[in-house]
């Protein structure tokens, strides 16, 4: 009796770590319908899994037409930035248990997943990143030097390296730029990501084109359109202090002038 009771309950604990969670995904397919709409998928999934795992399960087991970007799936390539429960995050760094309440083996609310805002949606969660990368290219994100090439490394002191350390961490996922309300309304604004990557070179002691980059960001669509809403700092999956970097560029422009 005891044994049979135990063995009946035996498989239960192994399966009970799974919880039933509804994923409400913003679907858009221009070849089927002109409007985007929400679609629900319900999964039994380990709450310690990531949202990306859930998307994989949906794509592989439920609906193969679900379209999203991901490459490395470990928070480095920056492909899978999306708006999850109204906040820009990387699907591959967001654990399901961190974004949803779980009660009696069920999620209390559906998990909302949609494409990042401010860029044209091509299909489902895939957006056209070209305007984002255009702004990035416009700030000259590469080392510019003059004179002869050194035969060895271009040396730099620890303090000089630390000056721009924070902004070297950017993975160009567009979570910051697509969380910026100024960018939502006017894509001509360079956006936080481009300014962060300009900051990385403006404050690099080895680089010589800081003046040019400052001149580019002094433009009417440059840093002065920043309203310091801190959306970008909150959105950055790498923890870059984006707004601080933008303010440092502003300060550099002011002190250069006066």
């Amino acid at each position: 009796m005891d044994k049979s009771g135990e063995s009946a309950a035996g498989p239960e604990p192994t399966a009970s770590h799974l919880v039933t969670i509804t994923f409400r995904i913003r679907r858009f397919n221009p070849e089927v319908a002109a409007d985007a709409e929400w679609e629900d998928f319900t999964l039994d999934i380990d709450p310690k899994d990531r949202v990306l795992d859930a998307l994989h399960r949906i794509k592989w087991e439920l609906d193969g037409t679900l379209t999203f970007r991901r490459s490395c799936a470990h928070g480095i390539c920056g492909s899978d930035a999306m708006r999850i429960n109204g906040r820009n995050r990387l699907a591959c760094k967001t654990l399901i248990k961190d974004i949803t309440g779980i009660k009696d083996g069920k999620g209390t609310k559906p998990v909302l997943v949609e494409a990042i805002k401010g860029l044209t949606v091509l299909k489902d969660l895939v957006v056209d990143m070209e305007p984002f990368f255009q702004a990035y290219r416009d700030v000259m994100p590469f080392l510019v030097t003059s004179g002869n090439e050194p035969t060895r490394e271009r040396l730099q002191s620890d303090a000089d390296r630390a000056r721009f350390d924070d902004t070297t961490k950017c993975i160009l996922c567009a979570a910051c730029t697509s969380s910026c309300p100024v960018f939502w309304n006017d894509g001509q604004y360079f956006g936080p990501a481009a300014i962060v990557n300009a900051h990385r070179f403006i404050f690099d002691s080895r680089d010589e084109a800081g003046e040019q980059r400052l001149e580019i960001l002094n433009d009417k669509d440059g840093v002065w359109r920043c309203r310091t809403t801190f959306n970008c700092t909150d959105a950055c999956p790498r923890g870059i202090e984006v707004t601080k970097a933008i303010q440092e560029v502003k300060r550099a422009l002011i002190t250069r002038r006066f």
Binding site: P30, E31, T120, D186
Partner: protein
């Protein structure tokens, strides 16, 4: 939430299948609205936005002093608001100090407010036409108020009948 990106003529296609696109009925070409094209304005290469940004900070600091002083004198000290009359205003504007005070307050507050509204219009207006007309209205209203106020401060006649 504006994730509506398709600009296809929506034929009320709630049910899928009825509006399926084909070779003869292709999906609409979506031109990315953020692309930098020939119509994109050229970079400005001026320091206008820098000065505008700086002006907001500096005028804000000065306005805190001017406005709080103004409110104290007008509403709190010496009998409060009930003391304000034509004679009170005439008495204050007899002194060049208060004339300058009020003139600075008028100009700084109006320009500060105008610049703030200008950035709000730039941020929120979606079409170039809307943006242009709203700014025209703003500049006209600002110029009118500033000029009228300046005229009154300098041509104020305490003996008017």
């Amino acid at each position: 939430m504006s994730t509506e990106t398709a600009n296809a003529p929506s034929e009320g296609g709630g049910s899928t299948g009825t509006t399926r696109y084909s070779v003869d009925n292709p999906a609409p070409l979506m031109t990315p609205p953020r692309a930098r094209t020939a119509r994109t304005p050229k970079s400005t290469r001026t320091n206008f936005e820098l000065y505008g940004w700086l002006f907001m900070r500096l005028s804000g600091i000065v306005l805190v002093v001017l406005v709080i002083g103004h409110l104290l004198i007008q509403l709190v000290l010496d009998g409060g608001v009930s003391k304000i009359s034509f004679a009170f205003v005439a008495g204050r504007w007899a002194s060049p100090f208060w004339q300058i005070w009020d003139l600075m307050m008028l100009w700084l507050a109006m320009l500060h407010g105008m610049n703030g509204m200008r950035t709000i219009i730039n941020d929120y207006a979606e079409r170039d036409g809307t943006r242009m007309w709203l700014k025209m209205l703003l500049y006209t209203a600002t110029a009118f108020t500033v000029l009228l106020g300046t005229l009154v401060i300098f041509t104020f006649d305490p003996n008017i009948r």
